[in-house]
């Protein structure tokens, strides 16, 4: 026996059951899903950003470590070259090239001026030219300058100009 289809008024449908999307999801659910998607995207992009920064920093550290090692090698090489040039065999060879000879006879000359009393072998440093203070150049004071100027003027006046 056929029965009539059940007819439910539209208003009843809306009020009792709520609105549905084309996929059968409510607006609320959809909004929640959208929010989750946005949050997930944010977290994901934050993670990717951090990861890429970490990677870049790691690459930079590796690069700097290599560079540091490069300059340590260069520095060690330079220090050795300097040490070899400063070594006594090099100095002796250079002195001989320049015509220096080793003295065989030492003659002592007595002079009047006193010698530096600090001659203890324990703390001795050979005399180094850079350590002696050079006399400061003479800077005339203002009075002296004026006197010179006056003297020049007088000289000029007396010469008839």
């Amino acid at each position: 026996m056929e029965t009539d289809p059940i007819f439910i008024p539209r208003s009843t449908i809306g009020s009792r059951i709520g609105r549905y999307s084309a996929w059968g999801l409510s607006g609320k659910t959809l909004g929640l899903l959208l929010l989750l998607l946005v949050l997930g995207s944010l977290i994901g992009s934050f993670y990717l950003n951090q990861a890429s920064q970490t990677t870049a920093a790691g690459l930079e550290i590796t690069q700097l470590t290599r560079e540091r090692e490069y300059w340590r090698q260069e520095n060690a090489h330079l220090r050795k070259r300097i040490a070899e040039r400063e070594a006594l065999p090099s100095i002796r060879a250079r002195a001989e090239e320049l015509g220096f000879v080793q003295p065989e006879v030492v003659e002592y000359l007595v002079v009047e001026s006193p010698v530096d009393p600090d001659t203890s072998a324990g703390g001795l440093t050979p005399p180094h030219p850079a350590q002696r203070d050079l006399p400061k150049p003479h800077t005339p004071g203002s009075q002296e300058w004026w006197r010179e100027l006056v003297a020049q003027f007088v000289s000029w006046m007396s010469s008839g100009h």
């Binding site: 790691g58 590796t62 260069e74 060690a76 400063e86 065999p89 030492v106 050979p126």
Partner: protein
């Protein structure tokens, strides 16, 4: 009809159930295996993975420098490079060899053969290339854009002054390893300060050992070693070594030692031994281990007449004699049944204490020691540091050989012979330190070779001179100095106008099995100058001179030449022209 429908439906349902059950069982098995591998064996598999992926590459620390007192480098680290190739990754060995052969200074055919050795995962082309070559190889590598060439840096110890002070410095063998050994000298005794601490780089790497920048990693930078500043003056060291070599050549000697010390502080200004060696590493050079020992601290010898200084010091300090006390020299004396005679078999009659030293009379020395008695004599000998290490900061120091009463093998005759330096063995460092005590107002200095330890220019540790015991009174030291000045003034081959020198020569016989060698001697001279304000004390010891056995002939001129140069170098003005030849 309906019944057949139901039968069909029943068999479909059964098949469905069977499929469903098989699927479930399969899924359960899979889940079980996953649980087994991922949960139960998780730690083990993680370790295996990390072992393959994580690398821990050590970064070697540079060893500290060794410098002389003025900062000149005596030992420092440099780099050398191993150039290697992986033949399996080389597509064109001939082409690569064409570019590489002139850089490596290798025969091209030999290089092609090496680069073609695909049976080897890796071949070493050069073991110890210098920096310039390594940089050129890196350019070739870039040009070829190949990972088949590699440059590996390794440390090498360099000694720019070559054989200067080789025994005092010692040496290091790196052999391209992170860990290494230091042998002899300052390298060994200050190894913990010089060594530093290796760093490391730890992190993930892929199969070509290229680092994976993301993921856990750690870098610990290496801490380079501390620098050691010696008391040595390289110029004075060179003077000592030159004079030692000259003296040995001149007198046909076998070997020798010269030590120069500041008597007030005990600082070693020079320590030269012959023969020496070049500590710069050389793989092909044959190594004779005997040459590495430092005879100045490790080898004892019978000092001979130089030891009379100690006997006289003891006699003066105890007051049994004074400077002008005399004794009657009969040319021989019996001590403990042992006949002792003068070196020239002569009798000198009435002799003063100064003349005892001047004529170097064995009978006189034995007379003093027997008058002192064994207890006092050996007490003074030990006070002067004999029979025990001086404590110098070098390895393998010998304490010498000295028999004292109470030892099972001491004989009364030893009291006589020890007085003039026979039957007792001392090291050169002991001998010079004992004489330095006389120069230092009776205070025994502590010899040392290191002045301070530095790191990056900052002083970490400074070694202050440690005042030793007062072994004789200052007055006795002064008296003995005047006596030594007087006897030295008479030497024709020691002329330093304006300077007083206090010294004593010695000619010691060398013990052999059953007695002493009939002709071989050790010729020595120990002296300090200027005598009344000493700035240096020098010991010259020459072994087995063939052209003359005498210390006064062989060793004194060497001291003269050294002293001349030291007085000028150290800027010590002459002070006493009234003494004339002294």
């Amino acid at each position: 009809m309906i019944e057949s429908d139901w039968q069909e439906r029943g068999s479909s349902k059964t098949r469905l159930v069977v499929v469903w059950m098989v699927t479930v069982v399969g899924a359960l098995i899979l889940a079980g295996r996953l649980f087994y591998w991922q949960v139960l064996r998780h730690s083990e598999l993680q370790d295996i993975g990390q072992r393959w992926q994580l690398v821990d590459t050590p970064i070697p620390a540079l060893r500290g420098d060794i410098m002389d007192r003025h900062g000149f480098l005596l030992a420092l680290d440099e780099y050398e490079f191993e150039i290697y190739a992986t033949p399996r990754d080389i597509g064109d060995p001939e082409g690569l060899a064409t570019d590489l052969a002139p850089v490596l200074d290798m025969d091209q055919d030999t290089l092609i053969a090496l680069l073609s050795r695909t049976d080897q995962p890796s071949v070493s082309l050069v073991w110890d290339a210098p920096l310039e070559v390594a940089r050129e190889v890196e350019k070739v590598k870039e040009q070829w854009n190949t990972g088949a060439l590699g440059v590996s840096a390794a440390r090498r110890r360099a000694y720019p002054e070559k054989d200067l002070a080789c025994h005092l410095l010692g040496f290091v063998t790196y052999d391209h390893e992170i860990d290494y050994d230091a042998f002899y000298g300052v390298e060994e005794s200050y190894n913990s300060e010089l060594r530093g601490q290796a760093g490391s780089w730890g992190g993930s790497a892929e199969t070509l050992d290229l680092s994976i920048s993301i993921g856990s990693s750690s870098i610990v930078l290496p801490r380079d070693g501390q620098d050691v500043v010696l008391t040595l003056d390289r110029t004075i060291q060179r003077v000592a070594e030159d004079e030692l070599r000259r003296t040995i050549d001149e007198w046909g000697a076998e070997r020798g030692t010269i030590i120069i010390m500041d008597p007030r502080s005990g600082a070693i200004l020079a320590m030269a031994n012959y023969p020496g060696y070049d500590p710069n590493p050389a793989l092909e050079r044959p190594i004779n281990e005997d040459q590495f020992f430092n005879p100045a601290v490790s080898e004892a010898y019978e000092p001979g007449s130089v030891f009379k200084v100690i006997t006289m010091a003891a006699a003066l300090d105890t007051g049994i004699v004074g400077r002008y006390t005399t004794y009657y020299d009969q040319g021989q004396i019996f001590v403990g049944g042992h006949l002792i005679y003068n070196w020239d078999r002569k009798a000198y009659g009435t002799v003063s204490m100064t003349d005892l030293l001047g004529y170097s009379l064995n009978v006189g020395a034995a007379t003093l020691s027997t008058n002192l008695g064994p207890e006092r004599f050996y007490d003074y000998v030990q006070r002067f540091g004999f029979g025990q290490p001086t404590g110098i900061d070098l390895p393998y120091e010998s304490k010498g050989l000295m028999r004292v009463p109470g030892d099972g093998n001491w004989r009364e005759g030893d009291l006589g012979t020890n007085a003039f330096g026979q039957g007792i063995a001392v090291t050169p460092i002991q001998m010079i330190t004992a004489v330095a005590a006389v120069a230092n107002n009776g205070v025994l200095p502590k010899p040392h070779v290191v002045q301070r330890i530095e790191q990056d220019g900052q002083v970490i540790q400074e070694f202050q001179p440690q005042p030793g015991p007062q072994v004789i009174s200052p007055w006795v030291a002064e008296e003995l100095t005047e006596m030594l000045v007087e006897i030295t003034a008479g030497k024709d081959n020691l002329q330093l106008p304006g300077y007083a020198v206090a010294g004593k020569s010695g000619t010691a016989q060398i013990p052999v099995t059953g007695g002493y060698h009939p002709s071989d001697t050790i010729a020595s001279f120990v002296a300090y100058a200027p005598a009344r304000d000493p700035k240096f004390v020098v010991l010259v010891k020459i072994d087995k001179p063939t052209k003359s056995p005498w210390g006064t002939v062989v060793a004194v001129p060497a001291f003269q030449r050294i002293a001349e140069r030291l007085l000028v170098y150290l800027g010590i003005p002459p002070g006493d022209f009234g003494i004339g030849g002294t």
